[in-house]
């Protein structure tokens, strides 16, 4: 990759993607509202939320948590940039996990009982989705013979037909990451109507909370681009696939109650993980397809 190309890609990842992410977050809320028979907020709503939060008085129970959230934001930026630069998917997922860990440690460092309880659940969520994502990366590797995202783009055929399960597990990951029912266990999306209030974010306010909102603007494109890898040729089809996963998670959010963390763990480890493994085993069995 030439230097100007790297620069262009970095620019897209760091500056353009979050704008798309912002609109997607807004769209998400808008679509949810429509599914509920409401009008809902304008799609630019997240932007106003962010500006408002930034203009609020600074406050936190733990400075350390703010620092952790900044790291969380940074990890989202870096992992998105890594995808855009065609980097190693496993490393990218580790960077995502870094963000999750920072988020969790931050949540623990706020001594609010709700933050603590919510963060414990956050940890269990990590335990649920982390293996699913890594399996997805391994699945991609098994067909491309490489962990590099760049190599996926060189494929002639889409991966999805051979990795169908992963599109479904991705919807699960979307639900967890975007805090949607039935997996909005550690905190619900933009309102804290949960027994743990707003979980790890219970004590985060004002500009610190803005960091989290901003991080979400990166998170959505990131999730979308992971889905896009499953149908990378042509790329627009992959983006559509990502949007479809997003839409699916929004619909699931609206047709399901929030379940408990014990249900989530059981579902994750008794259904989603085995299903992923089954798909992987199929790939192993039919090895040699793409590599």
């Amino acid at each position: 990759m030439s230097t100007p190309e790297i620069a262009i890609r970095l620019f897209a990842a760091v500056l353009l993607a979050p704008i798309a992410g912002m609109l997607l977050v807004g769209l998400d809320r808008r679509i949810s509202a429509r599914l509920q028979g409401r009008v809902g907020p304008p799609v630019t709503q997240p932007f106003y939320d962010l500006v408002k939060l930034l203009a609020k008085q600074g406050d936190t129970t733990s400075r350390f948590q703010t620092a952790c959230l900044a790291l969380y934001l940074a990890s989202n930026v870096v992992s998105l940039a890594m995808v855009f630069l065609g980097q190693d998917l496993l490393v990218m997922l580790f960077v995502v996990a870094f963000g999750a860990v920072a988020y969790i440690v931050g949540g623990f460092s706020a001594k609010s009982p709700y933050s603590q309880l919510g963060t414990q659940r956050e940890m269990l969520q990590l335990l649920t989705y982390e293996p699913l994502l890594i399996f997805l990366a391994v699945g991609i590797y098994l067909r491309t013979g490489s962990f590099l995202a760049a190599d996926v783009l060189r494929l002639e055929r889409p991966l999805l037909p051979e990795l169908p399960v992963f599109a479904l597990t991705l919807v699960v990951v979307y639900c967890i990451k975007l805090r949607k029912s039935p997996f909005d266990i550690a905190a619900s999306a933009h309102h804290g109507h949960q027994e743990v209030v707003r979980g790890p974010l219970s004590e985060v306010a004002g500009p610190s909370l803005a960091l989290v909102e901003l991080a979400h603007w990166y998170e959505l494109p990131l999730l979308l681009s992971i889905a896009a890898l499953l149908w990378a040729t042509p790329l627009w089809a992959g983006v559509l696939l990502g949007l479809a996963c997003l839409l699916a998670s929004i619909v699931v959010d609206n047709v399901a109650a929030r379940l408990t963390w014990s249900w989530m763990l059981r579902f994750g480890w008794a259904v989603a993980v085995p299903a992923s493994i089954a798909n992987l085993l199929y790939l192993y069995a039919t090895r040699g397809g793409g590599s």
Partner: protein, 123 residues
């Protein structure tokens, strides 16, 4: 979940239930209990309304021939309306509007040339 899916999809493809408020407010119901006002033209300042009012929103100052009404104490129950034998208490269907400061409305018997409007006074 399947049944709910039908519902939400139905919602997605039909008009939202949201009423366009405040752009196009709905007309109040004809018999709605709304704005309480006084028309002191026939008022005797007898105090029956004040006596029946469960919140003490009305004060009748007989000597000054004034009625002091605190609309933000009023629960729009209509007891005053029922108590007044002279039709001096009115209740319209419109809603009272929110305010920054609570007013005290002062009603007096209108002079022949002046219309019967309340004078607002802030406490």
């Amino acid at each position: 979940m399947a049944r709910m899916l039908r519902s939400v999809l139905h919602n997605a493809f039909s008009k939202p239930a949201t009423r366009p408020f405040p752009e196009a407010p709905r007309a109040a119901f004809e018999k709605a209990r709304g704005l309480v006002t006084f028309d002191c033209t026939d008022c005797r300042f007898c105090g029956a309304c004040a006596l029946k009012c469960p919140t003490g929103a009305i004060r009748v100052v007989r000597e000054e021939r004034k009625i002091l009404f605190e609309p933000f104490k009023c629960i729009v129950c209509g007891a005053c309306l029922e108590a007044c034998r002279f039709g001096s208490v009115q209740m319209g269907p419109e809603r009272r509007k929110p305010v920054y400061e609570k007013p005290v409305e002062v009603y007096t018997k209108p002079e022949a040339d002046k219309p019967a409007t309340p004078q607002d006074r802030n406490e």
